[in-house]
Structure formats: structure tokens, C-alpha cells
């Protein structure tokens, strides 16, 4: 196999040096691959994504993108490394307009290029165009998620990391978000996504990692994990993890 796009190797990370939350996680994401992370609340899923994004301190281990080391890259340089990250909550600026949200997302681009790519986002997400001069606080949960994804794509990342993009959305909205993510992967973007709905995660992704207590316990092709009795007993009991 050629060099994976993202390699996380034995990463230990946490919010305080004396209290590691992620305790030695190793995972890989290939070019144009969709990988999901599932696991109980507090397993360290969000913390791992934040460690890759440089938001949480990595105390040991390595992170590489296309072979180049990016461990402890300052968060504002993520875009230059061709990574985009959509946090789970507070992922849009509610006090800014839709247009301003996208402009902020295009901070690292030259003005003309920023405008061109924003016009393209408006074509892809007509809802956003309709509300472009409105404050993002008027958007519904699903529309905010669309704005957050549209903003993340402005820098044309090779890897898109999403933290529970379906949380709190209506089933209709969830399927729309997932359709869009699938289309992105078909277009060549790799996705690393935390998903609280194990069944949906296994259905949509190529491979899945199961985290528990800061470590990856099980991983493999999603189709195989969906058949795995151990995974099934933990997560797929009555058609999905109870919340």
C-alpha cells in the first residue's frame, strides 16, 4: 500500500499534561477513504480529532500527513497542511453573517480566489446563498452543519475531519449531510469522522475504529465490523446505540 494520507501513531494527548485522555492511539486514513470513529461517550474520540487539529496538546506519538510530520502544528496552519476540521458544537460564528462566515473560512486565500470559491459554495449549497446576508444564528441546526462543511471545503482540503456531524439533526437532514459527504469522498477527499450512531457509521464508511477509554479497541472494514458479534453486542443491540 502506498503512504496513507493521515497516520496517527501512538498518540498520547489530553487537556492537562498529567492527565492523558487519549492513551496511545494509532490509526490511518487513506486518500479518498471514509473512516469513522465510534465508541462510548468520553472514550476520547473528540479529543483525538482535536489532537490532530493541534487544539489539544500531544505529549507523545506522531501525526503525519502524506508522510510529512505535522505533530503539534499550530491550529491556524491546518489549512496549509490541507486539513479541515468541523467541530461538533459552536462550529459557525453566530454573530457573523453567512457570507462573513465563509470569508473567515477563506482567510488564508487571496481575495479573488476566496470570492471565486465562495461563489462555488453558494452554487453547491443554495440555502446558504438565500441567507448570505443574514446572521448565522438564524440558521437551523442542519443549515449550520451545511455552513460549517461549506466553510471547511473552501480551502480544498485533502482530509476533512468532522465531529458528530449528524448530532441533533432530523433523519432527513442526516441523510442529506451523509449524501454530501459520500459525494466528497467520491470526488477524492478523505474523511475522518466521529459518529455517535454506530449503525449509520458502519453503513456509510469504508473502515471503522472503535474507541474505549482512550484507546482503539477494534478496527477493520466497516462491513466486517457490522457482522462482528463483539461490536454488535456493544453497539448495535436494538438498532443503534442507546443515548
Amino acid at each position: 500500500m502506498s503512504t496513507p494520507l493521515l497516520e496517527v501513531e501512538d498518540v498520547v494527548a489530553g487537556y492537562r499534561p498529567d492527565l492523558p485522555i487519549v492513551q496511545g492511539i494509532t490509526l490511518k486514513v487513506a486518500e479518498a477513504e471514509m473512516v469513522t470513529i465510534i465508541g462510548p461517550n468520553g472514550a476520547g474520540k473528540s479529543t483525538l480529532i482535536k489532537a490532530v487539529a493541534g487544539i489539544v496538546q500531544v505529549s507523545s506519538g506522531r501525526v503525519r500527513l502524506a508522510g510529512a510530520e505535522i505533530t503539534r502544528l499550530p491550529t491556524h496552519r491546518l489549512a496549509q497542511a490541507a486539513i479541515a476540521y468541523v467541530p461538533q458544537t459552536a462550529n459557525v460564528f453566530t454573530t457573523l453573517t453567512i457570507d462573513e462566515n465563509l470569508l473567515v473560512g477563506a482567510s488564508t486565500l487571496a481575495k479573488g480566489e476566496a470570492r471565486r470559491r465562495m461563489d462555488r459554495s453558494y452554487e453547491n449549497f443554495p440555502v446558504l446563498k438565500e441567507y448570505r446576508q443574514k446572521k448565522a444564528k438564524v440558521l437551523s441546526g442542519g443549515q449550520r452543519q451545511m455552513l460549517a462543511v461549506a466553510r471547511a471545503l473552501l480551502t480544498e482540503p485533502r482530509l476533512l475531519m468532522l465531529d458528530e456531524p449528524s448530532a441533533g439533526l432530523s433523519p432527513l437532514m442526516v441523510s442529506e449531510v451523509f449524501q454530501r459527504l459520500k459525494a466528497l469522498v467520491e470526488g477524492g477527499v478523505a474523511i475522518l469522522m466521529v459518529e455517535q450512531n454506530a449503525k449509520a457509521a458502519l453503513a456509510i464508511s469504508h473502515r471503522t475504529y472503535v474507541f474505549a477509554e482512550g484507546r482503539n479497541r477494534i478496527d477493520g472494514p466497516s462491513a466486517a465490523l457490522a457482522q462482528d458479534p463483539q461490536v454488535a453486542s456493544i453497539y448495535l443491540g436494538a438498532g443503534g446505540r442507546k443515548r
Partner: protein
């Protein structure tokens, strides 16, 4: 009465300039910087120092009491005040920001404010000083209302700065970055904004406005090392009245405080004037803790 109104608007516009800087730094850096008022004093004295060096070459401009040298002094004072603010941030606030307790920063700023005031006292002495000894004649504009040309200049400067700052926050990339940072620093970084650079610019803008406020204070009243001490309460009252982070709110807040102070003198002995902003502050905190206009940096709507 009319005179009190005019005086109130004048001192209100100086308070507003100081309050804009304070509201920006409070909104973006998320702590109550008690040393902000000392930046006003520092700016006023830096301009005095510049004038001492340059001398008053070329005379005053027509009705104003000053000429090109003071304009130059304002610019240099703004730069020197920005440097002081950046140095304080680098040496004191940056290490303290790593502390989880926010009060540490607030107390730190308290210590800094005392230190700056003592340094000014040490260098310039405690006596009142003036940029120019030339007496200026107030022009009667209406029955019972006399205004000095310098006061009109002060008002004009305030208006120009408020309009320019509004444009800057709404239309430029740096202004947008400042508004983004004020709402959500982590998301701003995720969006590729180098927040440390934006913080530095925030200090430069806040300190420059403080310096301009200081020079205008020195120009229309006098220079004393206690300028900051006397302004601290009005500044905070204006910021809280207008909503932390709200530039437009700070302007309105400053005018309200200035007017209230000068109108109060009509009914209570002038010795009680200083209590007025304090009373307004208490009233606002009691009735509407988020301020009259809920705060967003640059927000008007």
C-alpha cells in the same frame, strides 16, 4: 444648562474614545484590563515629551491652540502607547493567560496600572501641565453657550475615529478576524486565523485610541498623572453600559456618562461628580447586566 450639555458631550467623547479601546480589548482578550485607563495617561504624557523634543516649530493653526507639532505628537504618542501595551502583554499578561483563574489577570492589570502611574509621576512630576500656555478664547455660539475651537477639534476627531473604526471592523479582513476571534477563538484558529497576530493588532488599536483620548484630555483640560485614575470608572461604566465588545455601545455609553456627569453638577455639589458613573454602573449591572446593547465586537444591529 446648554453649556452643561456641550461640556458633557465633549467629556463624553473623550470617555468614548477610551471606552472603545477598552471594549475591544475586553471583548477579544476576555478580561477586565484595569490598566487601560493608564494607557490614556501614558499617551497624554508621551505627546508632551514629543513636544518637548520637537519644540513648537511653526505656529498654531488659525483658531486652534496648537499646530502641526501636536498632530505629529499624537501619532508618535499612539505608537509609543502601542509599544507599552504590547510590552505589558508580552511580559505580564501572556504568562498569566496560561493560568486558569481569570482573576489573576485582572489583579495583574491592577498592579500594572499602579506601576505605570508611578513611572509617569517619577518622570514628569505631579504638577498639572499643558501642551500650550497660549490662552484660548471661547467663541460664543449661542446665548449662554461658549465653545473653544480645541473642543470642536476634539469632537471632530472622535467622530472621524468612530466612523473609520466601524468601516475597519465591517469591511476589512483584520476587522472580520477580530470579530471572529471575539466570538470563538478556537474556531477562529481552525479557520486559519493566527489569533496571536490579531491580539497584537487589538492592543495596537486599543492603545492608539487611548493615546488619542489622552492627548485630547490634556488639550481640553490639563495633564495630570491622575488622568487614568479619574477615568477608570467612567470607562468601565461606558463599556458595561454599551455591552462588552460593542464599539457603537461604547460610544453611546461614553456620551451618556459624560452628559450625566456634567448635568449632575447642576443639582449636586461638584465634589460628588465622580460618584455619577459609579451609580450608573450599579444601575446597569442591576437592571441589565449584559449592557443596553448586547455585546458583539463591531455590532450595531
Amino acid at each position: 444648562m446648554l453649556q452643561a450639555l456641550a461640556d458633557g458631550i465633549l467629556s463624553g467623547s473623550i470617555i468614548a474614545l477610551g471606552a472603545i479601546g477598552l471594549t475591544l480589548t475586553m471583548g477579544i482578550l476576555r478580561f477586565a484590563n484595569f490598566a487601560h485607563a493608564e494607557l490614556v495617561t501614558w499617551g497624554a504624557y508621551m505627546a508632551l515629551a514629543v513636544l518637548a523634543v520637537t519644540g513648537t516649530f511653526m505656529g498654531p493653526i488659525a483658531p486652534l491652540s496648537f499646530g502641526i507639532p501636536l498632530i505629529l505628537a499624537i501619532v508618535v504618542a499612539a505608537a509609543l502607547t502601542s509599544l507599552l501595551a504590547l510590552a505589558i502583554d508580552w511580559l505580564v499578561y501572556r504568562p498569566l493567560r496560561r493560568q486558569t483563574n481569570h482573576l489573576t489577570l485582572v489583579f495583574g492589570s491592577f498592579g500594572i496600572s499602579l506601576l505605570v502611574r508611578m513611572v509617569i509621576l517619577l518622570i514628569f512630576g505631579g504638577a498639572a501641565q499643558y501642551y500650550s500656555t497660549a490662552l484660548q478664547i471661547a467663541i460664543p455660539v449661542a446665548p449662554g453657550l461658549r465653545i473653544m475651537p480645541d473642543q470642536l477639534f476634539t469632537l471632530a476627531v472622535t467622530v472621524v475615529i468612530v466612523v473609520a473604526l466601524h468601516f475597519f471592523l465591517q469591511k476589512t479582513r483584520l476587522g472580520l478576524a477580530m470579530r471572529a476571534l471575539a466570538e470563538n477563538p478556537e474556531l477562529a484558529r481552525v479557520n486559519g486565523i493566527d489569533t496571536r497576530a490579531v491580539v497584537r493588532w487589538t492592543w495596537v488599536i486599543g492603545a492608539s485610541l487611548a493615546a488619542v483620548a489622552g492627548v485630547l484630555y490634556g488639550l481640553t483640560i490639563q495633564l495630570r498623572p491622575e488622568i487614568g485614575f479619574h477615568l477608570i470608572l467612567p470607562l468601565f461604566a461606558a463599556v458595561i453600559l454599551g455591552g462588552v465588545g460593542n464599539v457603537f455601545g461604547a460610544v453611546i455609553g461614553g456620551l451618556v456618562i459624560g452628559l450625566a456627569e456634567s448635568l449632575a453638577v447642576l443639582v449636586v455639589p461638584s465634589g460628588y461628580k465622580m460618584a455619577v458613573p459609579f451609580l450608573i454602573l450599579l444601575a446597569v449591572l442591576y437592571l441589565r447586566p449584559t449592557g443596553i446593547f448586547a455585546g458583539t465586537v463591531g455590532g450595531v444591529k
